[in-house]
Symmetry: C2
Subunit: 217 residues, 2 copies
C-alpha cells in the first residue's frame, strides 16, 4: 500500500508517519520508484505499536526506539527478547528516597523471596534483582511495610496464583500469532494497552462483588 493508505488504515497523519520514518521508529517502505515507496501489513502493525507506546504509554521517542531494538533483535531467545522488550517499558518508579537499601526494602526482599519459593517460581527467584519487574515488586512491598501495613505471604500466594493464570492466558494469546516478530510486538502492545483494561475490570469486579454482598442501599 502507499503512504496515503497506510495513513488512512492506521488513523495516523501522513506528516506523523514521515516523522516516525525519519526517527527510525518505522522501517523504510519498499522503494518502487524514485518518489514512491510501498508499505505492507508489517508496517501497519509496527505503526500501531509505536502509536500505542507514544499515545497510551506516553513514552519518549528514545525509549520507543530502545524497546523496538529489542523487539527486532533476532539473536535473542524468545524469553530474553520478550523480557528485554518488556523490561524497557516504563514501570512504577522505585521509591526515590535515595538512601539506597533501607530496612523496609531488605525486609521486602526477604518476603518476596519467601513468596517465590512458596510458589515454586524458580526462574523469577533465580533472576531475582536482575529483573526490573522483581525490583518493582520488592519496592511495592517495601512501601506497604514502610507505611505499617501488614504483609502476609499466605495472603499473597493466592493472588500470585491468580495472576499466573492471567499470564498463562496472555502467553496463549501471544502464541496465536504467527511470526516471531508479531509475537513480541503483540506482547509489548498487550502490556501497554491491556494493563488499564485489567485494572478497570478489577475495580468493576469489586463493585459488583460489593453490591452482591451488601446490596446497593
Amino acid at each position: 500500500m502507499r503512504l496515503a493508505e497506510l495513513s488512512e488504515r492506521s488513523g495516523v497523519a501522513i506528516a506523523t508517519i514521515k516523522y516516525y520514518l525519519r526517527e527510525g521508529l518505522l522501517p523504510p517502505g519498499h522503494r518502487v520508484s524514485a518518489t514512491t515507496a510501498d508499505y505492507d501489513e508489517g508496517h501497519l502493525r509496527r505503526l500501531r505499536l509505536v502509536r500505542a507506546m507514544i499515545q497510551v504509554g506516553e513514552m519518549p521517542v528514545a525509549q520507543v526506539r530502545k524497546v523496538l531494538g529489542h523487539v527486532d533483535d533476532e539473536s535473542l531467545g524468545r524469553t530474553i527478547r520478550l523480557g528485554a522488550a518488556l523490561w524497557a517499558l516504563p514501570r512504577e518508579p522505585e521509591p526515590a528516597d535515595g538512601q539506597g537499601e533501607d530496612e523496609a526494602t531488605a525486609a521486602a526482599r526477604d518476603e518476596v523471596d519467601r513468596l517465590l519459593r512458596t510458589l515454586g517460581w524458580s526462574t523469577a527467584w533465580e533472576l531475582g534483582a536482575f529483573s526490573p519487574v522483581h525490583r518493582s515488586l520488592v519496592a511495592a512491598v517495601a512501601t506497604l511495610i514502610r507505611l505499617g501495613y501488614p504483609w502476609d505471604a499466605e495472603l499473597m500466594a493466592p493472588y500470585a496464583q491468580l495472576m499466573h493464570q492471567v499470564a498463562v492466558r496472555d502467553l496463549d494469546f501471544v502464541e496465536t500469532h504467527h511470526s516471531e516478530a508479531e509475537k513480541v510486538e503483540t506482547a509489548v502492545a498487550a502490556t501497554i494497552l491491556f494493563q488499564p483494561v485489567l485494572k478497570a475490570l478489577h475495580r468493576l469486579a469489586q463493585e459488583e462483588e460489593s453490591a452482591r454482598r451488601y446490596g446497593l442501599s
Copy 2:
C-alpha cells in the same frame, strides 16, 4: 498515646502530623489538658491511610479530604460508602480528545455492555455510566479499538472472571476487619497500595511462564 509516640509509631514527623490536624485530614486528639492531647489506634490507622494517599497515590490534600469525607459518612450503605470513597481516588485519565463521544467510544460501550451481560455482572451493568470505573473500562477498550487492536469479548470474559476471583479475595480481606470505618479505610488503602503489587506480580508471572515455555536462552 501522645503526639511523640504517634509520630514514632507512624514514622511521620510531628510537624507533618500537626499540618494534617490543621487541614482536617486527622481528627483532633482527646484533650487531656490545655496543652496535651491523647491519640488512639484509630488516629494511627487514619494517619497511615493519609500517608498512603499522599505519598503513594500522590493525591492533593483536597482530594484526600474528599475521600475521607466518604470514608466517614456513616449515613451511606456499605457498597455506596465503599464505592464513593474508591470513586474519589485517582483513575486512569479518560482520553482527552475533547470531541465528546466518538465512534470508538460508542463501539467500546456496546462491547463492555455485551461483556457484562455475558458475565452476569448485573450491578455493574445497571450502574453503567454512573460508575467512573465503568467509564474507565469503556475508555480503555475505546483506545484498543482506536489503535486497531482487536477486542474480543470471548477472549476477555475469562480475564474478567479471574479479576472477579481477585475481588472476592479483596472483600474477604476487608471483612476480616471489625469496625465499619476500618473496613472502608482498608479498602481504600488496599486499592492504592495493592495495585502496584498486583501489577508487578502479573509481569513477574509473565516472565516465569515465558521461561517455563521457552527457556532462558
